[in-house]
């Protein structure tokens, strides 16, 4: 589940929406987006594992 969600976040058609050379909040848009998505995926893995004990 988490893996499927992760794939969704990290491949086209989602990804190209952020592939622009702009700075948002002072950081490159795509860089910020990928790291954020990555952190969310890791958080979800930890959450799922925490719930299942």
């Amino acid at each position: 589940m988490v893996a499927a969600f992760g794939v969704l976040l990290l491949v086209p058609p989602f990804l190209p929406q952020f592939n622009r050379a702009e700075l948002v909040f002072g950081v490159p848009l795509l860089w910020g987006y990928v790291f954020l998505a990555w952190a969310v995926i890791i958080g979800l893995i930890a959450a799922v594992l925490g719930r299942s004990g």
Binding site: L15, L23, L30, W38, G53
Partner: protein
């Protein structure tokens, strides 16, 4: 910086690592492991981050923006699937004592020697570029740090080999790996000390890289915002994006490739599967390892941007991490960064070469030597095995050096590493396919891997030789013999892709296509089918198969163990044997029990691989490889049909539960409803209709409880799924409903750490005791108690007490023949049974010393599922 300072710090650091490893091994020998912990496990997995990550990512960012990231996103996704894929691999490997990737593939397809050897050869060839990448990184950064004037590696030029740092680095690391990995033979191929050192290295490289990143971002620039806006103003937009032209196809292929590589690289396999102490550690690693990768990548882009701004094209971007502190005169930081880089490279080389040397000795050389029967006269093979491994380590590093000299000098780090990723990815269809698809066959795996490897060599390896001028460049640009369709980088006219994407497309088309096609057409032989069932069903090997071995004495087995493990290893194995309480059975001339033969084969499998172990044991047990034929194969077929029978019974039980049971249950409800309705109509309890209704309800309830009992008997695994205590509660409730006696079960609420066999046997013992209490002793009350008899030794006590008429324990009464069976079952479990009986009180007590020790725990966890 003075060369001697750098070398002294470097050697001191390696000495520290070695001390940690030595300490780790010592603690392991005394049974107090220092790596038995999920965090250390996750850190050891971070051996994934090598010089490639440490230096190469910055270089990659320079050329393809965020294109460095998929290599770390893939592992995150794979670990999200960890519970499904990795735990399965760990479990199967532990059960079958599989100690390497090659062994795993060979074992899955019928313990096949050819396949194991093939995987080994491909792994060695495929990893060579990866090793060369590490040597290149260490030797280049060494040149930069000791000669501040030299900033670009092209200045280093072509020095003769003896003055070449890379050669000395290779030899130093070879010696270090030999010391680390081949000090002694261990039946499980685990190296606790090495894992401890690797975990430390992961901390060091992370710390050093973050220090460099913080220095660049906050020291040289005013934080992220300042750095990025300067970079944007300087027109470095390509850093912040993916190339639009084939950026996405490359991005996706690299995610797939790294997902596979994080499992299939020999070093990752070693730390994830072989060195895993406890599969629960995987749970922490599933988020901690991806988190480590995230953190180590945060500063890659800032360093790339900072390097471009400050140093521009004067310096190879692969070395920005070190060159920036050097250029700013921060020599202490530079030294720290250098040591971090050394950590990244050393960790990779040690684990990789140790894993490869295990594969070469177990799956390639030993099977060949054993076939040739040249070893018949050798007494002590453990030294031979260690020798093979040492030579392998040195050879692999020298091959890496050769590749560096011949082809790797001009290339950036990441493209070199990707060649290796693409090579090991060729194992994925056979290995992962074999894990989830029963139909995969040996022929399919062989053809698939060979074709994938050939396409890989043609489309990736050959062009890298051509780029280095080893073969004519026209071969790549014009195709062999000028045939345009066969150009290695545009095979069959496919163009517009970068070379890794192009190679992966064609090699996977061949590999997956042929694996599936050949598997569908070729019938697997029985040995293969049996292994497929064992791998996919995750069933334990049934005890019956053990009858298959020929005659062999205990002495012969002992000699065999001596040869492979050395004297102390042999003694350890035999002393650990659970039947040692019976000294006559262990005298050298006695015929070895089939279980002992099987155990010896499993232990040997740990040190020489499953294929060799089978050959070796067959050779002393009088079974020739060719004759392995009928008898063994029949047994294996039996085993497979045994599994099929279990499956069939499970299916029947499910169907009965879903259909007949449900129908009976609703019948009782309907009857009850009819009774109530009739009652409303004014019919008395004694009216004929009401009486028949009551009778009918009774009959239906009886039928239902009988059906439940039958279903329970049909599903022996139901016991293992719910655990002993729960099963006993169920059984007690059933007996109470049928016979009316009061039966109480006093058992710990948590699941007892017993393996499946012990649970089954104990259940039968208690069942028999209850049976006796009710049928023969006419007891009205039965108490079952299960408790931990003695904390330290993990003694399990199971008691069945009743208030029946009792019997004389000295005379064997007809009805109590079951007692002998109970006693036998308990003794086979290594315990003893006592019976104490007088009128009004009978106590049957089974005491099992050590039954609750943790070594049984893993098996006991098998029924639980989650994730």
């Amino acid at each position: 910086m003075q060369t001697w300072v750098v070398v002294a710090v470097w050697v001191a650091y390696l000495g520290l690592l070695f001390a940690v490893a030595f300490y780790g091994d010592r603690r392991a020998d005394t049974g107090r492991s220092i790596i038995n912990n999920g965090t250390i496990y996750a850190l050891s997995l971070a051996v994934y981050a090598t010089s490639w990550t440490y230096y190469g990512s910055v270089g990659r960012a320079e050329t393809s923006g965020l294109g460095f990231l998929p290599i770390y996103l893939g592992p995150t996704l794979m670990f999200a699937l960890g519970w499904l894929v990795l735990r399965r691999i760990i479990r199967i490997s532990r059960r079958h004592r599989i100690t390497s990737l090659a062994d795993f593939v060979a074992a899955r397809y019928g313990k096949n020697t050819t396949l194991g050897g093939l995987v080994t050869v491909i792994a060695v060839v495929g990893i060579v570029p990866y090793i060369s990448l590490q040597l290149k990184a260490v030797s280049n950064t060494f040149e930069i740090i000791r000669q501040p004037g030299i900033m670009s590696t092209s200045d280093v030029g072509n020095v003769p080999p003896l003055q070449d740092t890379a050669l000395w680095v290779a030899l130093l690391l070879a010696g270090f790996s030999v010391l680390f990995g081949t000090r002694h033979l261990d039946a499980t191929e685990r190296h606790e000390g090495m894992v401890a050192a690797i975990a430390l290295e992961s901390v060091v490289k992370l710390f050093a890289f973050l220090a460099a990143g913080i220095f660049v971002t906050f020291g040289l620039f005013g934080g992220f915002g300042n750095l990025f806006s300067q970079a944007k103003n300087a027109g470095l937009n390509s850093l912040f994006t993916l190339p639009h032209e084939n950026g996405y196809s490359s991005w996706m292929w690299l995610i797939v490739l790294s997902m596979l590589a994080v499992v299939l690289l020999p070093r990752e396999w070693q730390v994830t599967v072989v060195e895993n102490v406890n599969e629960r550690h995987l749970k922490r690693a599933m988020w901690l390892f991806p988190l480590y990768l995230l953190v180590i990548n945060v500063f890659v882009l800032p360093i790339a941007a900072g390097g471009s701004l400050k140093l521009g094209n004067t310096v190879d971007a692969d070395t920005y991490v070190l060159a920036l502190p050097m250029a700013e005169g921060q020599y202490v930081l530079a030294l720290l960064v250098f040591i971090g880089g050394v950590s990244a490279a050393t960790g990779m080389i040690i684990v990789e070469t140790i894993a490869l040397s295990t594969m070469v000795s177990n799956s390639l050389v030993m099977p060949l030597l054993l076939r040739g029967e040249r070893l018949a006269g050798r007494r002590d093979l453990s030294r031979l095995i260690l020798g093979i491994r040492r030579v392998t380590i040195i050879l692999v590093l020298l091959l890496g050096y050769a590749y560096f000299r011949l082809a790797g000098r001009g290339l950036a780090l990441v493209p070199i590493g990707l060649v290796s990723f693409a090579a090991v990815a060729q194992f994925a269809p056979a290995l992962l396919g074999g894990l989830f698809w029963k139909g995969g066959t040996r022929k399919g795996a062989l053809v698939g891997i060979v074709s994938g490897f050939v396409v890989w060599a043609y489309t990736l390896l050959l062009p890298s030789f051509a780029d280095a001028g080893l073969i004519s460049g026209s071969f790549v640009s014009e195709g062999p013999l000028g045939i345009h369709l066969l150009r290695p980088k545009q095979l069959f006219g496919l163009s517009g892709l970068d070379n890794v994407t192009h190679a992966m497309f064609w090699s996977y088309l061949a590999n997956v296509g042929l694996y599936v096609a050949v598997s569908l057409f070729a019938r697997p032989d029985p040995a293969e089918r049996a292994q497929a069932v064992r791998f996919l069903e995750d069933v334990p090997e049934p005890a019956q198969t053990r009858a298959r071995r020929g005659r062999v004495s205990v002495g012969e087995l002992r000699a065999l163990l001596d040869r492979f493990l050395g004297r102390s290893g042999a003694l350890k194995t035999l002393d650990g044997y659970p039947w040692r309480q019976n000294p006559t059975g262990m005298s050298p001339s006695a015929q070895a029990a089939p279980e002992l033969v099987e155990d010896v084969e499993t232990v040997l499998a740990g040190s020489v691989g499953s294929v060799s172990a089978r050959l070796v044991v067959a050779s002393v047990a009088g079974e020739e490889e060719q004759q392995l034929g009928r008898g063994t194969v029949m047994e294996i077929i039996d085993e497979a049909s045994h599994v099929a029978a279990i499956e069939e019974r499970n299916r029947l039980a499910r169907e009965l539960h879903d259909s007949v049971s449900q129908a009976l249950f609703s019948m009782t409800l309907h009857t009850r409803a009819m009774e109530l309705a009739a009652n409303k109509e004014g019919l008395g309890a004694q009216s004929p209709l009401m009486r028949s209704l009551a009778q009918m309800r009774g009959l239906t309830q009886d039928a239902l409880s009988e059906m439940r009992a039958l279903i329970f008997q049909l599903r022996p695994d139901a016991l293992h799924q719910s655990g002993l205590s729960a099963a006993l509660h169920k059984h007690a409730a059933m007996v109470t409903s049928q016979h009316g006696q009061q039966i109480d079960v006093h058992a710990p609420a948590e699941r007892l750490p017993l393996n499946e066999w012990a649970e089954k046997e104990l259940f039968r013992v208690v069942q028999e005791a209850i049976n006796n209490s009710i049928k023969h002793a006419q007891a009205q009350r039965v108490d079952i108690r299960i408790y931990d008899g003695d904390e330290s030794a993990g003694t399990l006590v199971v008691e069945v007490a009743d208030n029946g008429v009792g019997f004389d324990t000295r005379t064997r009464r007809q009805g109590h023949l079951g007692l002998d069976g109970m006693r036998e079952r308990v003794e086979q479990l290594g315990g003893h049974l006592t019976i104490d009986s007088r009128a009004g009180a009978t106590l049957v007590r089974a005491v099992l010393p050590g039954a609750l020790s943790t070594s049984n725990y893993m098996d006991a966890r098998e029924g639980t599922e989650d994730g």
